[in-house]
Point group: C2
C-alpha cells in the first residue's frame, strides 16, 4: 500500500508542466523560491504550492537559509515509477509479439 | 506543447491506483466495464469515469459490442513518459558521480 501511495504521489507530482519545469531547473543545481519563479513565470505563492507538492513526493527538499528557502532535488529517484512503467511496456511488447505470431500463422494458412 | 499535454495526461491518468489496476487487468486481454468493476470493487459509474480518463490519455480504447462496451489497452506506449523519466534519472546519476568525485578529492586532500 505504501508503494502504491508512492506511485500516486510521484505520478501526480509529475502531471503538471510547471512542476516538471521546476524539476528540470533544479537538475542544474539548488535554487531559491524566487530564482525558480523568475524564469518559469510562476508567482511566488504558485511556486511555493508546487514545491510543497514536490516535497511530499520526495522529489524536492528545501532548507531555510537566512531569509530565503533553498530548494534542491530530493531523494526520490523514481525507481518504483520506472519499474511500473517498464512492466507495462514489457507486456505491451509481448502483446505485439503474440499479434505478430498470429498474423504470420494466418498468412501461412492463406498461402 | 502537444508533447507537454501528452505528459500531463499520461502522468495524471497513472496517478490513481484504481486506474493502474484497470490497466494491469487489461494487460491480460480485453474486458467489459462490468468485468472490470467486479475484481477491482469499483462501481460501474466509477469504472466508466476512470475509463474515460484513460481513453483521453490513449491508454485505453473502447468499442461498443451489442449491449456491452469492450475495453482494451490503447496505442499509448508511454515513450514520452519513459524518455522524460530517463533524462531525469541520467541527471541524477551524473549528480551522484560529481558528488562522488568531490568526496574522493576531499579525501585525497585530507590524507
Amino acid at each position: 500500500m505504501v508503494k502504491s501511495q508512492t506511485l500516486d504521489r510521484t505520478f501526480s507530482a509529475l502531471s503538471d508542466p510547471r512542476r516538471r519545469d521546476i524539476l528540470e531547473r533544479l537538475q542544474l543545481g539548488p535554487a531559491s523560491i524566487s530564482e525558480l519563479a523568475r524564469p518559469t513565470g510562476i508567482s511566488l505563492p504558485g511556486v511555493m504550492k508546487h514545491i510543497r507538492i514536490l516535497e511530499e513526493a520526495n522529489l524536492v527538499t528545501t532548507e531555510k537559509k537566512g531569509r530565503t528557502r533553498e530548494c534542491r532535488l530530493g531523494p526520490e529517484q523514481m525507481d518504483d515509477v520506472t519499474a511500473w512503467i517498464q512492466r507495462y511496456r514489457d507486456q505491451w511488447e509481448r502483446r505485439l509479439d503474440r499479434l505478430g505470431a498470429l498474423i504470420d500463422k494466418r498468412k501461412g494458412e492463406a498461402t
